[in-house]
């Protein structure tokens, strides 16, 4: 994304501690993953708050709670919101 600057660190959603707000930078894992995540409102640029970390992750996206299963949460790259 154009707004990111070089000091930003990206990491997998899986590794984000609970209570942190992050911005999704990329979703990988094949066409069906990306498409499904987009259907549910998770795409590059989406602001996400991690409600529960670890393997399966619980996040807040625009007011609704999503669970991202283990495996998929490692395929979502995020950047910590300043």
């Amino acid at each position: 994304m154009t707004t990111s600057h070089e000091h930003d660190t990206t990491m997998a959603l899986e590794a984000v501690p609970k209570g942190t707000t992050v911005i999704v930078t990329a979703t990988s894992g094949g066409r069906s993953c990306t498409q499904r995540l987009a259907d549910m409102g998770v795409r590059p640029g989406t602001v996400v708050r991690v409600m529960k970390g670890g393997g399966p992750v619980m996040i807040d996206v625009g007011g609704s709670r999503l669970m991202i299963g283990r495996g998929l949460s490692s395929k979502i790259t995020v950047r910590v919101d300043r």
Binding site: D39, G41, S64
Partner: protein, 697 residues
Amino acid sequence: MSDTQEQAKTLKVALAGNPNTGKTTIFNALTGSHQHIANYPGVTVSKIEGTLEHNGVQIDLVDLPGSYSLTAYSIDELVARNFIIHEKPDLIVNVVDSSNLERNLYLSVQFMEMDIPLLLVFNRSDIAKARGYTIDTEILASLLSTTIVKTVAHKGEGLDELKDAILHVGLATAGHRPAKIHYAREIEDEIGRIVPMIDAVPALAKAFDPRWLTVKLLENDSDIKERAEELSGNDDVVSAALDAALRIKQHFGDSAEVVIADNRYGFISGACQEAVQNSIEVRHDMSDRIDAIVTNRLFGIPIFLGLMYSVFKLTFTVGEIPMQWIEKGVALLGHAVTAIWPQAWGETVLSILVDGVIAGVGSVLVFLPMIMILFLAIAVLEDSGYMARAAFIVDRAMHKIGLHGRSFIPMLIGFGCTVPAILATRTLESRRDRLTTMMVLPLFSCGARLPIYTLFIPAFFPPHLRTPVLMSLYVIGVIMAALLARLLRATILKGDTTPLVMELPPYRIPTVRGLCIDTWQRSWMFVRKAGTIILAISVLLWFLTSYPKLDNSQLENLSEGEVAAAQLSHSVAGRIGHAIEPVMRVAGFDWKASTAMIGAFAAKEVFVAQMGIVHSLGDVSEDTESLRSILQREYTPLQAFCIMLFCLISTPCVATIAATVKESGSWKWGALQLTGLTVLAYCTSAAVFQVGKLLFY
């Protein structure tokens, strides 16, 4: 469209939207009790239809399955999409959760692209307000060129306006087409090239809106691709679209479907920027507080196990009571029919009716109370929002066996009855997950296997061992299911574990109406599916166990029970039992248990009845104690355990196989389930029997 107004007065309306938007509440509020449940052709997704009349116009409303998108990712979404393509409703009423507008509008935009009149219902407008959103529906409506109605369905607010709007938009002859999404120029260019190709193939242009078809082909939608090839008879259009998608990918550096999704979201956020203001940022509500406890690392699993235990305790203790009534009722009906049966109509027909039909249907009905209670409990867990959390909690464990948290719900249902459990797998999005779950479901010991355990266990095991033995059977089933799932995922159903994204709806108190509909729908599916098949098989089995008949000369000096036993031994089933005895002996079976096992194929609990007959006791439902003492004489505890083990693993009942065939769409999977599990059962009980013999005797 043009003649709608004259002949008039019936509108076909599809109600659609994301899950958890209050769509069903609106459906119920609009149609009241005028509802009708059917199935969509070819799939077992239930189709809920209702009618209402407003200002002299009849509105036929269909409640489409909740979906996030029209990408046909799951069967529910495919059904929703196909309904709109094939049935071409006069109007789509799209229920939108106003408190989560952008994501909800993603589906709306896809409806807009289908070029069918669209009415947006902004439900939960109270929650949106509480969360600080101010939505200017007028601006938004003009940006999207649709009509928008605000509602708070659970309070009944806005429903009259909604009815008026349905008529207004639905009966309008023109000018109510939603706005077109304009994609990036490169995509529009490609669309511009392909649309004329589609127009040139009448079969395609007739079946689909050309622009919509083009977008779907660019998105590489496999279902649509197949249909398009089928209809056009060649792959010209499809391969042109594939080439176009490739060019788009080269240009944007992302695949076409990602770019298309980006464009749609861009359109939505552009519209929302103008029409929606948000004053509050973060929220902490009741749901979060409950989640903090329920999904806690420490308490999460104990709470989950506690709830599951309560569900089963409730199912089995409360279900027991009406079960006995039904058992008695069926027996009474059998006796009554026998008593009033005119001699002239013959014994054979009477026997088919009483021993085949009434006994067979009875064997299904007996389980109905238990199954209804289990389904009710599951509906409470689902509607309250807990079930989604349970899937979250077990996701980690399920991953170890190559499945994910969602497969857990069918498995839970499987402890009640495997048939509705197989139907419940339709919420699984990937076919591999679905098939794996289906294949292992019979290993979750269903309610019908319980009578077998309760017959054998008290006969062979001292009181302090009875619960552990019973538990061990359930646990063995679950462990075998886990191993088998892993095995399947490593061999014939190999592939990456599919990603799980699942919405965790806010907690809420379930409505009585919602619970009743859910419970009724699932139970009815069980009765109808299991009922018809078991009825047919019961009659067939009646033949197998009654023919060929013995001569009267062979039956002299025998008691009534001995006659029945001799007859069964002489019958086709008995002969099969005798024939397979040498093989079954290795696993601890004699011919009697083998014969009873053939009956168990119709329905597991038939095993108990058949054991009664082969041991010359006649009808044993009244008198299980005497059967237990005979069993004690004839079998060792080890044999008893092996027989129970075999019943647990082997030969899912006919209804299960039928459900698997239907749901998987091929005989192959049903056949594999039947033979695979039977072989597994044989090997397991043979191994246990042989090892046990060495150890104990």
